[in-house]
Point group: C3
Chain length 353, copies 3
């Protein structure tokens, strides 16, 4: 990413309440205070990094408005109620410059089935495939080689990144982002098994994705056996996550990388699952429940539960177990010693009595 | 998925032994009894849901033939020896309607190497690439942008879903399904390492996949260092699974999502691995052995073993350990108390004697 | 893979110091001693397989030079200082034959943005997309449908396998291999969350990949929030690994399949992570530290640490814990018995005294 902003452009993008010092350097990078050099912009978000302020080489620093530190030579301090929010505004501005929206229109190499209407505001990149009966909302973007299956629809302002695949019969809401290599709507994993093997159960449902959902690179969301696998509005899913068939995820959940959720499980709203968590099938995780990384959840959770470990138990209990486990060698020795002492005591009671 | 079936069409597809009641509603959805509304078809498969029968809004219910419940108004009950099998027949019928087989032929955008013969019954979708020396069996389908590498072959009635990749030198049997984004035949992870770094060991083997195998979305199966990585007939592999080089999987195994199997390990027939299981390299898992979700298998297993946990131990032992772990805080307190009591007792032996 | 080498070709490729016996069979396969049949080449690398030498059907065997065993009839033994290195030389030779380098040039179906200069020595396969401002080094290869994003660069002798995706603003060094389906430079997983939901934090950094790095199939490496996610020179990453935003991986690390590394964590040089390991964010793993499969690393590690388990603790302690856990049922019984004995003893002190 090539950044080049004048100090004036930084001011315009971040809108500080005040400033001190000055610099004539253009900003070409963003870095933490402890690493920033001349030409870098930095920020004091968390007070624990304030020690780095005296020595930072940053040319521009986004500061909390109540901080009394003095800028160095050729250094500009900009003051904000919330420096992190100011940084976010700057990054949003940079994003528009660095990753401009592709122009509307259908690339001549794209294969669009007969009868599919692409809104003039939408973009369809090279080698995209849009199957019959599919539909795209206004301003939506299919980047290079994205795939939109038969009868599937995506709402307005969606973006399928390069190589993203939405299979047939799926519905995506508005402002949904599907990252590169993700697969929405592959068959669920269902078989009728007996001693001769496993007969495939047809998976004829779809996937329904709410507004403002983001689905990470390489993530897979299986279609329902029938009816819908559901991802609720505002839920964010990281990379390489597996969502089984007929799972129902509520609104505003956060699902970190490499989580796996087995079939027919329900997550209520605002559930947070750490990386590599596994959730068994046919469970219900109550609203606001949270699970630490690598937890293995085998039972339903009450709302606002906080669990950890495999098997998942309440967080504090798991912390205790983890500490006490490390003391197991000592505990075994202590019990050995008690037993030996008692044996000696009660074999020769007179000596003790 | 848009379903629309008349009650007569449901009867024709499911072939009930008997019926009671009647409805004039077309069926537009399938749902569990507890959720089904007018226009839905539902089913009583598991007796534990029988309580929902009285209140279900379903217009058609697939029932076990010995059930005496009465249909409601404008409700049709259809009776079967096995309602689940009847539902599977209906879904198979729906699948044909909802996801029709693409027409045979090679899409004009596909790139097929010189000398490759595509059977007239086969389908090659847009942007597919078929490299030199590859071959396709009768009725096989490459969906959009599937890739078939140099010298690789797929048998009759196979289906590579959109974006599926079969690298060079791989052989797939008949009726194999490779889901979107799966990669068969990437290089194994092998290096000669020393203090200067890691030198790549050439991976010149292939992958051999038996008949009736299904490979999930985003799953990766590495080619052998030499000879073949093998997936046996009838084995079903879920999404985001990693199969290392030179692994040999037997017939009719079930490998759930996000499992990882390290190099040169052998699974005999009918092995079942739960989600996120990890298996170390160079092991043998005996026929019919099973491992619970998130197990970490570091040793070979006898046939019909049932293991769980990380490290994996016999299932019942793991269950006991999990329960006793939660009682560790109590155990430590008990041992503290014993020690304190004994210290007191033997410091003042006269009082006690 | 179809191999066919005369014994003379094997000799030419491996350069033995000596030989005994002879065969007229062409070599069509490579197999371990215990499985090799006529027409196969085998090798005695590890002495533990020497027992298989007497009964192997191999036509050619690569032997350590000090081994005194006699070849059988129609069997050729070739002697080497290091038979494994000889095998590697043979496999390298085979690789060139089996997987020849594609011819240089840009496939007519590729879409290359205006102004991008492709070196004449480079190869761009069918359906590749190269966006504006991207650049490719000499002899680099984009296989079928690889994607190189806006402003991204790859150095000389790189290879993007089919379907590999390098998003915008990424820099790859020389001799980097990106396997099929991998995604370099998707957005990091970062949100500003409050009770109303999660606002996306723009991810405007890139990914910087050093020379001689290999990135496995389906692996995802996220772009930095700002500045760079870094993969150091010579590091090898297996399949389906997740590298979070702003992670910095040192030189010559080995990251096995399905590992997940959360944001802003640093790995120093020569770190080794076993399969399915999870590493929390904002940690530092010291040079040469190693973690066993499925470890969950929640704290920074000193250089040369060896840890195991979830939570990860020193390897030997984890081994002890694992063994003692299996003795927990017995320990609980022992403590029950001690308590019962003591209760009896001190309830009836006279009897004992």
């Amino acid at each position: 990413m090539e950044i080049s902003l004048s100090p004036e452009q930084v001011v315009a993008a971040t809108r500080p309440t005040d400033s001190r010092g000055q610099t004539n350097r253009r900003i070409t990078n963003i870095a933490p205070l402890g690493e920033a050099r001349e030409g870098d912009l930095s920020f004091l978000g968390d007070r624990k990094y304030r020690k780095d302020l005296a020595t930072t080489g940053a040319s521009v620093v986004l500061m909390p408005r109540d901080d009394a530190a003095d800028p160095g030579e050729n250094q500009l301090f900009l003051y904000f109620e919330n420096p992190s929010a100011a940084l976010a505004r700057l990054c949003a501005e940079l994003e528009v410059r660095l990753r401009p929206r592709p122009a509307p229109g259908v690339h001549p190499t794209a294969v669009v089935a007969e009868g599919v209407r692409i809104p003039p505001s939408a973009t369809v990149g090279p080698f995209c495939v849009i199957e019959s009966g599919a539909s795209m909302g206004e301003n939506s973007i299919l980047e290079a080689r994205a795939y939109l299956g038969r009868g599937s629809s995506i709402g307005a302002d969606c973006r399928l990144m390069p190589g993203a695949i939405v299979m047939d019969g799926c519905r995506l809401g508005k402002r949904v982002i599907v990252h590169a290599g993700a697969v929405i709507g592959a068959d669920g994993f269902g078989y009728d098994s007996d001693a001769s093997g496993h007969a495939k159960i047809p998976q004829v449902g779809g996937v329904s994705v709410g507004d403002d959902v983001e689905i990470g690179a390489g993530t897979t969301v299986d279609r329902a056996r029938f009816s819908q696998t559901i991802i609720g509005e505002g839920t964010k899913i990281d990379n390489l996550v597996q969502i089984g068939h007929n799972v129902r995820i509520g609104r505003h959940c956060l699902i970190c990388a490499q989580v796996g959720i087995a079939g027919s499980t329900t997550l209520e709203d605002f559930v947070v699952l750490g990386g590599q968590v596994g959730v068994a099938g046919h469970l219900r995780l109550g609203a606001g429940s949270q699970a630490g990384a690598q937890s293995g959840i085998g039972r339903s959770l009450e709302p606002r539960s906080t669990v950890f470990g495999s098997p998942a138990v309440p967080y504090l209990l798991r912390q205790k177990i983890s500490i006490l486990q490390q003391r197991l060698p000592d505990l075994f020795r202590r019990v050995d010693k008690i037993e030996a002492g008692l044996e000696k005591a009660f074999e020769n009671p007179v000596e003790k009595g």
